[in-house]
């Protein structure tokens, strides 16, 4: 059903009106993992709107290069790289490559993740390892590589992690991602404590549904239109407002903020009542209207 005409839907300013000046990150380089597409690309563009040069890391160099070209169109320097964030040596080599191309990495956005709805009993060991290790080990390895370099330089920095709205509730039908995204959020608080003495801030955005070309839930008949009314805010998120909040946590505007996990989901994760539609186990709704096939 469409959102009723008498409902009021709050909307953000357009993409070309970011909430910070165009030079707020001037002279700084950000490394965005999984920055070639989707939410990572939105983060990368938001940093670029603040004047940051952008190192785009992806599993696929082709996709990273495509994203880098879109980011470069905003008027900043970019460098595209391929890297498997599960491998510490590969992460170190990618940081070396990015710093050789663009200078010291002063900001880090951990976005790399794989996610696909699947019944828990159908998650293979390989699938479990892929989803959990890209998000959990990848965030750990990229963050520690970043922090060691910042500490060695005697310089602070900022990290933002892309977590998810379902981290406090569980996510039946997506067990690997439920585990992985919560680990990212809970490690955020501890990393922030460990690195506060070095002036390195760490925050996370627990993101709701921000449709983009590669999001699973948007790939259905009728597109995302039928999904708007499911969300208390009356709409899915605009991907640039996610990018902006992510980048904002790394600005001097929020200079004292660290260890925070900010939920940005239009109220989606809070929607409930004591009387709800009948519970249907994921395996019995995979083919139904609320399934994913």
């Amino acid at each position: 059903m469409p959102v009723a005409a008498h409902h009021i839907v709050a909307t953000p300013p357009p993409f070309d009106a970011p909430p910070y000046p165009a030079d707020i990150f001037a002279g700084q380089t950000v490394l965005v993992t999984g920055g070639g597409s989707g939410m990572g690309l939105a983060m990368a563009k938001a940093f670029a709107q603040g004047g940051a040069d952008v190192a785009v890391m992806g599993r696929s160099i082709e996709r990273a290069a495509e994203g880098a070209a879109e980011i470069a169109a905003l008027g900043v320097r970019t460098h595209a790289m391929s890297c498997d964030v599960r491998l510490p040596e590969a992460v170190a080599a990618a940081f070396d490559e990015a710093e050789a191309a663009l200078g010291p990495i002063a900001l880090l956005a951990n976005n790399a993740g794989a996610n696909f709805p699947v019944l828990a009993e159908d998650i293979s060991a390989n699938a479990w390892n892929a989803v959990t290790r890209i998000a959990i080990d990848g965030t750990f390895l990229c963050s520690t590589e970043f922090a060691r370099r910042r500490i060695a330089r005697g310089a602070g920095g900022a990290i933002v992690n892309n977590s998810a709205q379902y981290i406090w509730t569980g996510f039946p039908g997506d067990a690997h991602s439920a585990a992985a995204k919560t680990a990212q959020a809970t490690m955020t608080r501890k990393l922030a404590a460990d690195w506060a003495p070095y002036g390195i801030r760490v925050n996370a955005i627990a993101a709701g549904f921000f449709p983009h070309a590669s999001s699973t839930a948007g790939n259905r008949e009728g597109g995302i239109e039928p999904l708007q009314n499911m969300i208390p805010a009356g709409r899915t998120g605009s991907i640039w407002e996610f990018g902006w909040l992510s980048a904002m946590t790394c600005t001097s505007i929020f200079g004292a903020m660290t260890g925070q996990v900010i939920v940005q989901d239009g109220g989606e994760s809070l929607r409930r009542s004591l009387m709800m539609p009948d519970y249907v186990p994921p395996r019995e709704r995979a083919d139904g209207p609320w399934g994913w096939k």
Partner: protein, 166 residues
């Protein structure tokens, strides 16, 4: 930040110089009456062991940290509905476990109230968020202005702190 709140009227109840300064810098007009944004800042209650709190002290903390916030929010949201316009509510106070048992009760109640009202009034275009923090400086003001602005249009029912011990 300039322009975040251009043309918006904000009513601030309670005292936070950082928030007042940030809202003015963001272009908002401070008003006493009808407003587009309502901010409630609760004063910190005294830190006392629970067995030294009188019922009168307990009640005063509940009234300042919880009851007045609900009743003020209810009035604000009713005015928004009457005008047919959305709005933003922001509660500011100490972290739940930062003071005494009175704040632990009021802060926890406020958190779940925030989550509840954020959803209950979502389709009125009224957003409801909380900052529970020890911080009183610039970042508090900036974060408050952000949450009140259209840049936070997709943030509602959110409870957040600022620093590590929040």
């Amino acid at each position: 930040m300039s322009g975040w709140l251009a043309g918006k009227r904000v009513a601030i109840e309670g005292d936070s110089p950082a928030i007042t300064k940030a809202f003015e810098a963001a272009g908002a007009t401070l008003v006493d009456g009808e407003a587009d944004i309502w901010v409630h800042v609760a004063p910190p209650s005294a830190i006392k062991p629970a067995h030294d709190l009188t019922h009168a002290e307990w009640r005063a903390s509940m009234e300042a940290g919880l009851d007045r916030r609900f009743l003020g929010a209810k009035d604000f949201a009713a005015n928004c509905r009457a005008r047919g316009q959305g709005g933003a509510i922001l509660f500011v106070g100490a972290p739940e476990q930062a003071l005494g048992a009175d704040q632990a009760a009021a802060g926890g109640a406020l958190s779940n109230l925030t989550k509840t009202l954020g959803v209950e009034w979502a389709r009125d275009g009224v957003r409801v968020n909380s900052i529970l923090t020890h911080e009183t400086g610039e970042t508090l003001g900036h974060l408050a202005a952000y949450l009140a602005s259209d840049y936070a249009a997709y943030v509602t029912g959110a409870v957040m702190g600022i620093a590590l011990d929040d």
